[in-house]
């Protein structure tokens, strides 16, 4: 069964350092999402891509966070510099299509757990 792949699974870093997370969506899925999940809460959307274009990054703290999906397949989420409050699970999800079109189920990867010291 096809799955969303994410790496690394765990990351420990010191504040002010840069970190990057990678996501490979399910093959053929045009829409890719990055979520942040704080312990004990539901995931919150950071950014949504349709192919290589950003559809929604209204909740992305753009002073320190950036995301790209250059070829419309895999994606990277970067934080620079990391702050203590960034400690969370970063989840990637993908769906067949979605933006402006039919509703498609989002499938999640295993996540990257970030700890900022």
């Amino acid at each position: 069964e096809a799955e969303v792949a994410q790496s690394p699974r765990y990351k420990i870093t010191e504040k002010s350092q840069a970190v990057a997370f990678w996501c490979d969506p399910i093959s053929g899925h045009a829409t890719l999402y990055w979520y942040r999940q704080i312990l004990g809460q539901g995931p919150e959307l950071l950014v949504q891509f349709q192919d290589e274009s950003v559809v929604d990054d209204s909740q992305l703290p753009k002073d320190r966070f950036s995301a790209e999906r250059l070829k419309g397949v895999d994606s990277t989420l970067k934080i620079q510099p990391a702050e203590l409050g960034d400690s969370a699970m970063y989840l990637c999800a993908s769906s067949l299509a979605g933006s402006g079109g039919a509703i498609e189920t989002q499938y999640f990867g295993p996540g990257t757990r970030l700890l900022v010291l």
Partner: protein, 111 residues
């Protein structure tokens, strides 16, 4: 902003019993709802979904009920098993395939 919430943060059930997890949503314009299961250290796993033109949908051992009048969603799990222990999230489509998640309900299954 719009939000989705859960009535019970923790639910404990005996193995073999049925479980009911509830969720209240606030956006009356939402047209799609999903239940996810999340085990410790893993990403959310799709369980079942329902569109707003339906009031009930059944899967394998799971049923989702939607009451648009009172903006209420529930997940029923039949014959609950230890492997069902997890955090369960409801989510609503707020438009443009953007999901808004609730805080989650912890389901504990006692053997």
């Amino acid at each position: 902003g719009e939000s989705v919430g859960l009535h019970l943060p923790t639910l404990s059930v005996q193995e073999g019993d049925n479980s009911i997890i509830n969720c209240a949503y606030s956006n009356s314009a939402s047209d799609y709802f999903i239940w996810y299961k999340q085990e410790s250290g893993k990403g959310p796993q799709f369980i079942i979904d329902i569109r707003s033109n339906m009031d009930k949908r059944q899967g394998q051992r799971v049923t989702v009920l939607l009451n648009k009048t009172v903006k209420h969603l529930s997940l029923q799990i039949a014959a609950t098993q230890p492997g069902d222990s997890a955090v369960y999230f409801c989510a609503e489509n707020s438009g443009g395939n953007k999901l808004v998640f609730g805080a989650g309900t912890i389901l504990r299954v006692k053997s």
